[in-house]
């Protein structure tokens, strides 16, 4: 898994690629918690368009990110979900708790 950050005005976009699993999810969790708790970024957007696979530890990292965003009053947005990622979120019954958009334009819209 690779994470790269693009910082815009009050928005950070994380471009994620590869697999989010037992070995890599701690890195994603750390990046999200740092962004919300330390930097208090008002809106964090996760571009999952290049993620091939995500397991339950990845979902857990997203849930932790969401909780951290709520704690500091920020928004946490996902976009670019492929079939595999959407299935995993639906299987977890957590798809409704996330703010999900189709593309980056919608995700960064005012």
């Amino acid at each position: 898994m690779k994470i790269s950050a693009r910082r815009l005005d009050k928005i950070t976009i994380f471009d994620i690629s590869g697999d989010i699993d037992l070995a890599t999810s701690p890195e994603l969790r750390k990046a999200l918690l740092h962004e919300f708790r330390e930097l208090k970024t008002p809106r964090v957007v996760l571009n999952l368009g290049a993620v091939r696979y995500m397991d339950s530890s990845g979902v857990a990292s997203l849930v932790e990110g969401l909780k951290a965003s709520r704690d500091v009053g920020s928004r946490f947005i996902l976009f670019g979900l492929n079939k595999t990622i959407r299935e995993v979120l639906q299987l977890s019954k957590l798809v409704k708790i996330f703010e999900i958009y189709e593309n980056e334009e919608q995700s960064v819209a005012p």
Partner: protein
């Protein structure tokens, strides 16, 4: 190493005849099972041995003999705690505890047992739309 297993298993499931969606389900279930073994039975040590066997079976279902893929995973780690094998309520929105739910949702049969000092997990997935072995004519 989990990504290597996932790729190999995806190919195996596809050759077996599963749909793309069912291939993803099999891969997810086995990946979650291996993750649970590493986390709970081996306490995070990913270098310990896990034995996996795969075989095609013909099993009865709905009054017919159906093709199925049986996967058995064995580890030599700590005995699985039965109380932790029941998953958790999904209404409780919190990280963790989803792996077993994913396994149960993805497979048709999920059985845990302890034999000769080993934890054994048996998973079965039926192939959709098959009527079992063809009779020789």
């Amino acid at each position: 190493m989990l990504c290597v297993v996932r790729n190999a298993l995806g190919e195996l499931a596809a050759k077996f005849g599963f749909s793309e969606q069912d291939c993803r389900a099999v891969v997810l279930a086995v990946d979650e099972a291996l993750t649970n073994i590493i986390r709970h039975a081996y306490l995070g040590d990913s270098d310990r041995p896990i034995e996996a066997s795969f075989r095609r079976l013909h099993l009865p279902r709905d009054g017919q003999s159906r093709d199925a893929l049986e996967i058995v995973l064995e580890d030599r780690g700590a005995r699985a705690n039965p109380k932790k094998l029941c998953g958790r309520a999904l209404e409780d929105v919190r990280p963790g505890g989803l792996g077993l739910h994913f396994i149960r949702e993805s497979m048709d049969t999920v059985e845990f047992s302890r034999r000769w000092g080993r934890n054994q997990l048996r998973l079965v997935k039926f192939l959709a739309g098959t009527d079992g072995p063809r009779k020789a004519t």
